[in-house]
């Protein structure tokens, strides 16, 4: 794939990549024309609704649907009895693998409910009111069981067991007894005891974070239609139509080829729309009723039954020499997985120390099931949580050593050639440059006022590549259509069109990107892992290069010269053969107009498994002011630098940085799942689950560092979407700690918590 680097198209001065054109789908998005998940309607469609568990943990003794079925207008009711009871089988996602049995049991509870909000039955009726009435008439008899929502309580001996057959993996010997601990992850290097013995200064502290939700504004929504021929259609908002297709087929016991999934516009996902919740239910209801079924979650359902990411405990011990060299690090992570195994503790462990070159370390991560919704991926899954602990500890260490926050990171920074804490050797990284641009910024060099504090933190994310397909079709007018299989979650259509336009030499207005259904384009892994501009972009460029090669060949044919006598320059074929000096360059338009004479339609496809995404590094600086009377924290100023390789559309890259920062600020200051004594989420709405609003934030300055382009990508792009959420938790907490003179280790830093810390300090 790296051969593309040597093509003339990549070496010519860029005219489109790096500029800021209006996104191709822009008009649709600002006029209300764009059709999201809930905007699709089918003739004769029914309304589907879900009955959810009122208990955090209970055995399902019986389900009686007879009274609901008798209600006029009710067309179908399904329970776990309508789905195959699947065996355990791991399926790969782009960032995490899932057990399909767990996935199925999360979609519809069988025998036991494992969290408040767990689906127990679903109804399809001619109206929402009738469906709701039917839900009220379903009688479920439960035997309520003791529950556990806190991660450390779930790990303790004698804790209520969620799964009788869960035996901890990753231990040296299989444990004799089942527990809630699904897995132990461990990463070690060097000799920890020796490292700490050599340290002049040691800091040690326990940190914790609460479960937080991705908070996409669009609730999950789908329409499913079961065909009489057994072929079915699903229209839904997701991060990957192919993933939805695969999971639906598994959960329903169907052939993948029987399902076509058409992607709607997606109203935010952040990792939370990488799995199925409603789609298999809607398909089952459609099969049972013979009608298309539309299902849309309420916001309360989104909070209670989808996402979130883990709450976690992070214990960090760091040892350093007087000059700031960190010689030993010990990190222990305990993560809530929710009702089924699979918290992001593995990636949290792998990223925890990834910005540092430390000779001796031990990182241990525990994946723990709890009676809370099954966690889903959330932007750089796990990394913000471990980074919160590590970056807070590094801040404390720097203070003890009398070093500034950037100096200690520079001292211990990974560079090209450093072996990463998680294994590979870094190449083409610009981490130290992200530190430098912050150090040189006006922000870093501006003094603070009273009650104000400044916090700094860094972050790392792997980014992923993977399988993508793209097709480029040239129309008879010489315009291009670029087809991919990746839902556009934040403006990726723009980058796809720009990369194609750059390669073809067309103006951006003549390239129209589209996202196809599962039958109309080859397989593509989902939109996640910050992979689309890198991996799918690479496929787009390769398809466009094939088109260019084809166009050169056609020009050569028309001119009767050898193909190597034709070059592609500025969107046209140019003849090099001195004997044919009279041949005027042929534009795409001219070649397209005579395509029938030169071999037929002009079209090409590339299907690749992209390798070498290039990791992302970020450095964030945050100023806060704390109101000493109320404990309210205001973010005054924020500057974020990031190693982006090369920004294809800088505005949308800045947007990723700014959006990640805003989510991280919310996570740091206000957002949390609050559970009552019965294990019910108490704040399942946007009023009480307090996400940042416009008046909570200042302008967010994004500095894009382009000093280390990714050599594997034709234009140098690295993934950019996830790493910006990694540093903010610690950047904000370090700023608050500096402002009030008290280390704040427990998120969120909501006003009562900050006020309590201030009161305790005052004595």
């Amino acid at each position: 794939m790296s051969e593309t680097l040597d093509k003339p198209a990549a070496k010519a001065p860029l005219t489109i990549v790096g500029t800021r054109p209006i996104r191709p789908d822009g008009a649709d998005k600002v006029t209300g024309r764009a059709a999201f998940g809930a905007d699709f309607h089918m003739p004769g469609q029914l309304v589907g609704r879900v009955l959810r568990s009122p208990h955090a943990h209970a055995r399902i003794v019986s389900i009686d649907t007879s009274k609901a079925k008798a209600l006029p207008g009710v067309k179908a009711i399904v329970t776990a009895a309508d789905f195959p009871d699947l065996a355990s089988e791991m399926v790969e996602g782009s960032e995490a693998s899932s057990d399909i049995r767990d996935l199925s049991l999360n979609v519809m509870a069988r025998h036991k409910v494992l969290y408040h909000g767990h689906a127990v039955a679903a109804v399809a009726a001619v109206s929402g009111d009738i469906a709701e009435e039917a839900l009220a008439r379903i009688k479920v008899t439960y035997e309520v069981l003791p529950h556990v929502t806190d991660v450390e309580e779930a790990m303790a001996p004698g804790a209520p067991l969620l799964h009788d057959h869960l035996f901890t993996e990753g231990l040296e010997a299989r444990p004799a007894q089942a527990s809630n601990i699904a897995r132990k992850h461990r990463f070690v290097r060097g000799d920890l005891a020796e490292g700490f013995a050599a340290a002049d200064v040691v800091v040690e502290r326990r940190y914790d974070t609460k479960a937080t939700h991705q908070g996409y504004i669009e609730p999950h929504a789908c329409v499913a239609a079961w065909g009489e021929d057994g072929r079915c259609d699903v229209w839904c908002s997701s991060q990957g139509q192919f993933t939805i297709r695969s999971y639906c087929a598994k959960v329903l016991g169907l052939e993948t080829s029987d399902i076509r999934v058409t992607p709607a516009e997606i109203g935010g996902g952040f990792g939370g729309k990488t799995t199925v919740y409603l789609e298999p239910l809607a398909l089952a209801l459609s099969r049972a009723s013979g009608h298309p079924v539309k299902m849309v979650m309420s916001r309360e359902e989104v909070f209670r039954a989808t996402g979130p990411t883990s709450g976690g405990v992070i214990e960090v011990k760091l040892g350093a020499k007087k000059d700031g060299t960190i010689v030993a690090a010990e990190v222990e992570l305990k993560f809530q997985a929710g009702a089924f195994p699979g918290s992001p503790v593995g990636t949290a462990a792998m990223t925890a120390l990834a910005c540092y070159d430390i000779p001796n370390f031990s990182i241990v991560g525990w994946d723990v099931v709890t009676n809370t919704p099954k966690t889903a991926a959330y932007r750089a899954p796990g990394a913000p949580i471990s980074a919160f602990g590590v970056e807070s500890a590094v801040d404390e260490l720097a203070q003890k050593l009398g070093l500034d926050a950037i100096a200690i990171r520079e001292k211990n920074a990974v560079r090209d050639g450093t072996k990463a804490s998680y294994g590979p050797t870094f190449q083409n990284i610009a981490y130290v440059d992200t530190l430098k641009v912050i150090k040189d910024s006006a922000h870093w060099n501006t003094p603070l006022g009273p009650n104000q504090g400044r916090g700094f933190a860094v972050g790392f994310w792997f980014n992923v590549g993977g399988e993508s397909t793209a097709a480029v079709h040239i129309g008879e007018d010489g315009s291009a259509v670029v087809v991919t299989g990746n839902p556009d979650i934040g403006g990726s259509r723009a980058s796809m069109a720009m990369m194609a336009a750059e390669t073809l030499g067309l103006p951006i207005e003549k390239v129209r990107p589209m996202i196809a259904d599962t039958n109309a384009i080859g397989y593509s892994m989902l939109t996640g892992g910050s992979r689309v501009t890198f991996a799918t972009g690479m496929a787009v460029v390769q398809a466009a290069e094939k088109v260019v090669a084809d166009l050169r060949g056609r020009a050569a044919k028309l001119w009767d010269v050898a193909a190597d006598q034709v070059v592609w320059q500025g969107g046209q074929a140019v003849c090099l053969d001195p004997a044919k000096a009279d041949k005027k360059p042929l534009t795409i338009e001219a070649l397209a107009a005579q395509s029938a004479r030169t071999g037929g339609p002009i079209s090409a496809q590339a299907a690749i498994n992209a390798q070498g995404p290039g990791p992302g590094f970020a450095a964030h600086l945050c100023d806060v002011e704390v109101d000493p009377e109320t404990g309210v924290v205001s973010v005054l100023r924020y500057t974020a630098s990031q190693d982006v390789g090369k920004a294809i559309h800088p505005s949308y890259v800045e947007g990723q940085v700014q959006g990640g920062v805003a989510q991280g600020v919310g996570w740091a200051l206000n957002e949390e799942y609050v559970f009552d004594a019965d294990g019910r989420m108490e704040n399942a709405g946007f009023l009480d689950y307090r996400m940042p609003v416009a008046s909570d934030l200042p302008m967010l300055d994004a500095i894009l560092v382009e000093t280390a382009p990714n050599p594997r990508h034709p234009f140098g792009a690295k993934g950019v979407g996830e790493v910006p959420i990694v540093p903010p938790l610690a950047a904000v907490a370090n700023a608050v700690s500096a402002a009030i003179g008290v280390r704040m280790p427990n998120l969120p830093l909501s006003p009562p918590k900050v006020l309590a810390a201030l009161d305790a300090k005052a004595g």
Partner: protein, 161 residues
């Protein structure tokens, strides 16, 4: 329960529909009139995705009953562009890349229009507080605020001209 016949004005044209007494204006716009540009993010008035303008005031259409629209003048996102021309707010949102997924965008545009109708020269702080009822999870609001301020400046110039 029998449905209520509602006569109202939507984006300058008269519109009629039938709605149950408990149906929200949001559902009537989306399901009865097919105007799905108005989005539902929460159904409880917390996210602003369903913002429309009723008799010049911004409202969450999920908190207003459809029968209450009788005789009112309703503006939705579908009416913001006039005569095939994007409204300056729409244009500035595109120029500033003030949207990512675009789901909150219709509500934010309508709220921004109501702001600029009421206050043609808002400060950044005023714009931020006015839009505090509209959640965006993608952008961090930076580019949204810049787009609104830029559109305000352009609209002021247009008025002078």
């Amino acid at each position: 329960m029998s449905k209520i016949h509602v006569t109202t004005t939507v984006n300058g044209d008269s519109a009629e529909f039938l709605a149950g007494p408990g149906v929200t204006l949001m559902d009537a716009l989306r399901d009865e009139l097919g105007l799905t540009g108005t989005k539902e993010g929460c159904g409880s008035g917390d996210c602003g995705a369903c913002s429309v303008i009723v008799d010049g005031r911004i409202v969450c259409s999920c908190l207003m009953l459809a029968p209450e629209a009788e005789g009112r003048r309703i503006e939705t996102i579908e009416g913001l562009a006039q005569g095939g021309q994007l409204h300056p707010l729409q244009q500035k949102f595109l120029e500033h890349a003030a949207l990512q997924c675009g789901f909150c965008t219709p509500g934010i545009l309508m709220a921004s229009k109501a702001l600029l109708d009421a206050n043609p020269d808002p400060t950044e702080t005023e714009a931020r507080y006015w839009l505090a009822g509209n959640l965006c999870r993608c952008t961090g609001y930076d580019k949204i605020i810049r787009a609104v301020m830029d559109a305000a400046a352009e609209l002021r110039q247009e008025r002078v001209a």
